[in-house]
Symmetry: C2
Subunit: 244 residues, 2 copies
């Protein structure tokens, strides 16, 4: 059974207060059991998670780091404010843990795909709540059940390049646990909890493209397990994280 | 333009010496510009990368670690032999850097989906060479160009669950570099080198399933950039790895 990944084209520039569910429903033929993957940027924009840098007073730390690497001290300040722990701060880049618990570059603060010279975009305050709201409204309109993933592109240790991951999830189980099941030879499967929501987010990225301005994709035909689901569940508890 | 992910069903149990290209060509209608994603396990099996644990003499380190966590000391010994550096060794699990440079659990040594009580499967010696050989033979048979990815499921720091990644690549550029390009607002894109080969491997996993025994998927409709390509390019050079 094939899985299809469909780009949703024709989404206009999203502004604070816009009704994202209405925009998606107008642009796409959303069907039962679809997984609607939405880049966080348009969710953040609709929720007004934009900061005008002209209103930001940088701290001494932000000024010092920005001066050393020729960065905008106000943007560095925003990154520090969006962080609850700094993992690494070097070469102009900050790897930090956000208030949600995501470990990523620059706390997800990003100036690309944002209109205006002096505006940066933050991650949604609660990507799971954003996903759940969008899922509920899309399901109402479609008259059927579906799942929603809010995605962002994160770097990762050990491997080059960024990949799309799920930062918010609603309507599906984000992890599929094969432990206790057996392979076709009857042997128990090891280390087999799959982060399927991250794999779905990655698949969606393939039709989005950074420059094409396609912020939404639909994954159709993947038999996900229905559940409330969260993106939070994809954050590894530190005490279990052997890679940390 | 949609991307399709198609499972390749009917691949028999692969044995050392089997002609993988012939098995794929018989089971699937491989077309021009397809990306054929193959789990490393059947590549390893065809290449005879299987170890009979009855032939393995465990070291003192392997014995001590195995005794503490009730593991098979011979399997621990194989993991140590497949490693060039131990990153972490705790709770019965070894996170190490393989001789290829991959950082993963148990050096990719795995007893699941392998027939026989006493046999474990290693990663291919050179997954890029395996990918290139398979690509060449499939392209000859199909009479057209295509790409091959050899995949494995790796855990990762910070996030729970494993995801499929590309350990071998042939026929496509594994990283797509958007730096220097601009977004629809004309602003330069930041931090935008996408690990598309990993995203393709992740997408392929969606139709494979650990228990279903589907070791191959075809991704169709993704406009990859043709190049020799390697999976090695996805290994982050330590000096650039801020997450490390």
């Amino acid at each position: 059974m094939a899985v299809r990944v469909l780009p949703v084209e024709g989404i206009p520039e999203v502004r604070p207060g816009d009704d994202l569910a209405a925009l998606v429903a107008e642009a796409a033929d959303v069907r039962a059991d679809d997984i609607v993957v939405v880049t966080h940027k348009i969710v953040s924009k609709a929720e007004g998670r934009l900061v005008d840098l002209r209103t930001v007073e940088p701290s001494a730390l932000a000024k010092a780091f920005a001066a050393r690497y020729r960065k905008d001290p106000r943007q560095i300040e925003v990154v520090l404010r969006e962080s609850r722990r700094i993992v690494r701060m070097d070469r102009g880049l900050i790897i930090s843990e956000t208030h949600h618990g995501f470990v990523c570059a620059n706390a997800g603060v990003d100036a690309s795909n944002v209109p205006g010279d002096e505006v940066v975009c933050l991650l949604p305050v609660d990507p799971d709540a954003s996903s759940a709201r969008l899922r509920e409204r899309l399901a109402q309109r479609a008259g059927s059940d579906l799942a929603v993933i809010v995605s962002d592109s994160f770097g990762r240790p050990w491997r080059d390049g960024i990949t799309n991951v799920a930062i918010g999830v609603a309507g599906m189980r984000p992890l599929v646990d094969y432990r206790g099941e057996t392979d076709p030879h009857g042997f128990p499967l090891e280390a087999s909890v799959l982060a399927v929501a991250d794999e779905l987010a990655a698949a969606a990225e393939l039709v989005m493209g950074k420059t094409a301005g396609i912020p939404i994709a639909i994954v159709r035909g993947y038999p996900y397990e229905r559940a409330a689901g969260t993106g939070r569940a994809l954050i590894m508890p530190p005490e279990r994280d052997l890679f940390r």
